[in-house]
Amino acid sequence: MTPLLDVQTLSKNYGQRIGCKDVSFDLYPGEVMGIVGESGSGKSTLLNCLAGHLEPDHGKVLFDTKTDGLKDTVTMSEPERRMLGRTDWAFVHQHARDGLRMSVSAGGNVGERLMAVGARHYGDIRAQATDWLGRVEIREDRIDDRPTAFSGGMQQRLQIARNLVTGPRLVFMDEPTGGLDVSVQARLLDMIRELVRDLGLSAIIVTHDLAVVRLLADRLMVMKDGHVVETGLTDQVLDDPQHSYSQLLVSSVLQV
């Protein structure tokens, strides 16, 4: 089996400051990987380099494309990379308003990716949008409302529907549950878990919330100062952390 994503010695500097340094890992279809670390540890830089939003200074990001197999997304042409961005990849932002068009209805938000890849039948697009809104538990009669009229949790679910409608294979998530009420978080986590399982998605989730990765991620990567200090099975890293920083991170979580 070929990995879906094969990352090799990826580095990104901001001038003298290290964004992320020599990160290597692979991700197989159906796997969910968590990246944890405190603010400034380089996890968001890494995620943006992987998703093609930032150009790394060094390293490769090989993605298993449908047509050509493993291909370096860092050096591929921009049109090709952007095409991946709206077909095989999805990006769920922490703030839904960064990932949604706030002036466009929920239906239009979900339909955009379909239209971007050539769908031209209004009835079909609307039917698919309706179906996806249902899957993220947004009532059908809200389809013509703008996201500005939605609660934070609904906006986040809409963002997920908008991203998944074209059947991506790899989903990048940046703190997907950050800033939401705890009760809303739980429902969203459960939904993400089910979608990942039912659709066989691979996902990379950046978060500083260890409870989130325990529930969602199969594997875990711990970052500090731009470096990966520990990787492994999620529950193993959380229950038997080896690196001093991982131990500190795990022991710092407040118990409820």
Binding site: P79, R113, M115
Partner: protein, 289 residues
């Protein structure tokens, strides 16, 4: 004749604009940046169109200027006078006799011929701006032919109004490549854009020129199940009786009384000359004002 250079602009500026026009003709629908000059009129009054017209005019040309189809509105009259004064060219109200026609918001009803140039005044040249305000991003979208967003706008229309409600500035795809804003002409005029004449578009404030060469394919965007329709008001012109032209609605009294008349004044008049008569029209007399 005045002390102005021919057609107001200096020769270097006209050359620069002509180069932009040629580039625009070579890449139909592509927005060519140009160094728009200050003109002796406010932005929004056709500064782009005037510059393009100035670059096209020769002393032998006959100029017609229309605003929403009419030759006798303020904007049309001012621009016509401007070129009479600065270029001393012949002017006309007849579509057939004109070699250069500058227009705001309409295409004449009379089909144009290969020896004519139609110059449009354009307020906002970027059709994607409604949904994507970043110019860097829209340029990239044009370059990469990422036009899904344009359909999102039409999708929103249908969702909210049950049909595509965009009535003017209806986006078109030019020669299968560039999505273009046809300027705020009614969508009734969209099918006419596949024509024999050269079409030039000038946006002064936005500093963009674009063009459609003769006989170029211009397709109005739509959905398979909501096809494009070149709609107009139901009814016929009250003056000339035409039921195939774009009509303006005119309120005639305080009781909601109204009538429809041709928006193209020259076309309406020539029909009446030819003996056509609408329900409220009077037979044509040469001396009638």
């Amino acid at each position: 004749m005045s002390d102005y250079n021919f057609a107001y602009l200096d020769e270097q500026t006209k050359r620069m604009i002509r180069r932009a026009i040629l580039k625009g003709l070579a890449i139909p629908g592509y927005q060519v940046p140009f160094a728009s000059r200050e003109m002796p009129m406010p932005y929004g009054w056709g500064t782009g169109g005037v510059q393009v017209t100035a670059a096209c005019l020769t002393p032998d040309d006959t100029l017609k200027v229309i605003d929403q189809g009419a030759d006798d509105t303020t904007n049309a009259v001012s621009i016509r006078r401007f070129f009479e004064k600065t270029a001393a060219v012949a002017v006309t109200q007849s579509t057939k006799r004109a070699s250069v026609i500058q227009t705001r918001h309409r295409i004449p009803e009379e089909p144009l011929s290969e020896d004519q140039i139609l110059v449009y005044q354009v307020p906002i040249p970027e059709p994607l701006r409604f949904l994507e305000p970043r110019e860097t991003e829209t340029r990239k979208m044009h370059a990469l032919e990422e036009y899904g967003l344009m359909h999102v706008k039409l999708f929103e229309d249908i969702s909210q109004h049950g049909q595509i409600a965009t009535a003017y500035a209806y986006p078109v795809m030019v020669e299968g490549r560039y999505v273009m804003d046809p300027s705020p002409i009614p969508r009734f005029d969209n099918p006419k854009m596949e024509m024999a004449a050269i079409q030039l578009f000038g946006a002064g404030r936005e500093q963009r020129i674009y063009a459609i060469p003769p006989y170029t394919q211009v397709v109005s965007l739509d959905f398979e199940d909501y096809p494009f329709e070149a709609s107009k008001a139901e009814g016929a012109c009250a003056l000339c009786g035409a039921d195939h032209t774009y009509l303006d609605e005119v309120i005639v009294d305080d009781d909601g009384g109204r009538m429809f008349v041709c928006s193209d004044t020259d076309y309406c008049e020539s029909r009446r000359q030819a003996g056509h008569l609408g329900v409220e029209g009077t037979p044509y007399r040469k001396d009638a004002a």
